[in-house]
């Protein structure tokens, strides 16, 4: 029956709930919110698309001479992040060589339609329902060469 006293004491304690829409939780420097892309810096290396465990990033690539250097380089004309699949693991952020994809402090992603959650960044929209190339299972070169050597020997 000791518990009764404790509950009575808590009756007058300070309340700990936060009133959500008025008071939003503080975000930290490392908090992983919605992803966003700085398209000026993107070099369309497709590393984020490859590492993504959920295949939520689709990039449409094109050879284009964007910086006027006279050489046609890969250029991302379409870039879509599908928030309905993203699990905020931050792998794409770490893998990006030019730091063009990063987390914002936004964390409220809601929509009436799943398609609205696919956010387009490029100049041309990409259909998010079409699957990006899944992670290809590549054998390392050594493993591929080994049977050949045996055959040769």
């Amino acid at each position: 029956m000791k518990g009764m006293g404790i509950t009575l004491k808590h009756l007058f304690d300070k309340k700990v709930t936060r009133q959500y829409p008025e008071y939003k939780k503080e975000t930290f420097e490392r908090s992983r919110g919605l992803l966003t892309v700085d398209m000026d810096r993107c070099i369309a290396c497709l590393q984020c698309m490859r590492i993504c465990p959920d295949h939520c990033i689709s990039i449409e690539q094109e050879k284009r001479d964007a910086d006027g250097s006279g050489k046609a380089k890969p250029y991302a004309v379409g870039f879509v992040i599908d928030d309905s699949r993203c699990m905020y693991c931050s792998l794409c952020v770490e893998v990006c060589p030019v730091n063009c994809i990063y987390h914002t402090e936004e964390f409220e992603a809601q929509a009436y339609n799943r398609l609205e959650l696919a956010r387009q960044f490029g100049e041309r929209p990409v259909d998010p329902t079409i699957d990006p190339k899944p992670a290809v299972k590549k054998k390392p070169k050594a493993a591929k060469q080994a049977p050949k050597k045996e055959a040769a020997a």
Partner: protein, 337 residues
Amino acid sequence: MQTVLNLLEAEPIRLFLSFGVILFLVLNLAGILTFAERKVAAYIQLRYGPNRVGPRGFLQPAADVVKLFTKENVSPQRSDLWIFLGAPIAMFLPAAAVWLVVPFAPRSVVADLNVGIVFFIALTSIGALGLIMAGYGSRSTFSLLGAMRGAAQMISYEVPLILSLLGVIMLAGSLSFQDVVNAQAGGFWNWYFLPQLPMFITFYIAGVAEARRVPFDLPEGESEIVGGFMVEYSGMTWGLIQASEFASMALVSAITATLFLGGWQPPFPFLDLGNFNWLWFAIKTALIIFTFQWIRWSLPRLRMDQLMDFGWKVLVPVCLIWLFVTAGAMLAFPSVF
């Protein structure tokens, strides 16, 4: 004007009118108590509770009722429909009808029956019927288990409930609530909870069990049998069951206040408020309701066998012993009583 008042006080009209008033009060009481329950729960659990509808959430019960009325009333396909739909009414009406004999203030009681306590006991027993109807009618194993538990529990706890009243009846020498309250006049040392302390505690515990509150809420037992007898109810039938639960909780509190805590009698004679003595009654009832809620949010639930053990092996013997003590004391010192 005077004739209208006289007409209103004429017997059949007065009864119907005041019964209407009581029904209105009880239905509102259920709403107010849901709100109070949620607020107390929230404050104990370090939350704020409902605070969006109306100022500080006061209109939350109204919003709940609107929601319940607009919800579809689903009944299981193979249920026994008449019994299924009759059960909430069979539960609500007895709980509301007992309020007829509860004295709110010196003159304000709907029907001052001279067998008021018997009326109270008789009508609370009917509550078990509604429970069994609900469990049987909805044709679900969970409901059936809940109803069986509920019937067993309510019938077992009826015994200590009645036994614990006997002491008060002996002391007051009457079965009328009004007489019992009058016998406790003159300050809190005259209230019956002092000479009848074991009976008071027994009545309180049995009352909690009758109102099916934690730790005796086995018929509902939401973590075992998912709401028990009312698992299949929805919409306003569910709301009616809920209203009857709250009404019977308030009823048990009111009866406890009447029989053991002096009803509308003020704790000290100089605090007599005259016509406003019903305030004392309200305060006492509210305090007891608060203890109900406090217990509910602090304690876990008993198991069926432990519940039965507690009822039959602890409460009933305590009542019987104290009954003999009271009777012996009345025989030995007739001058005191």
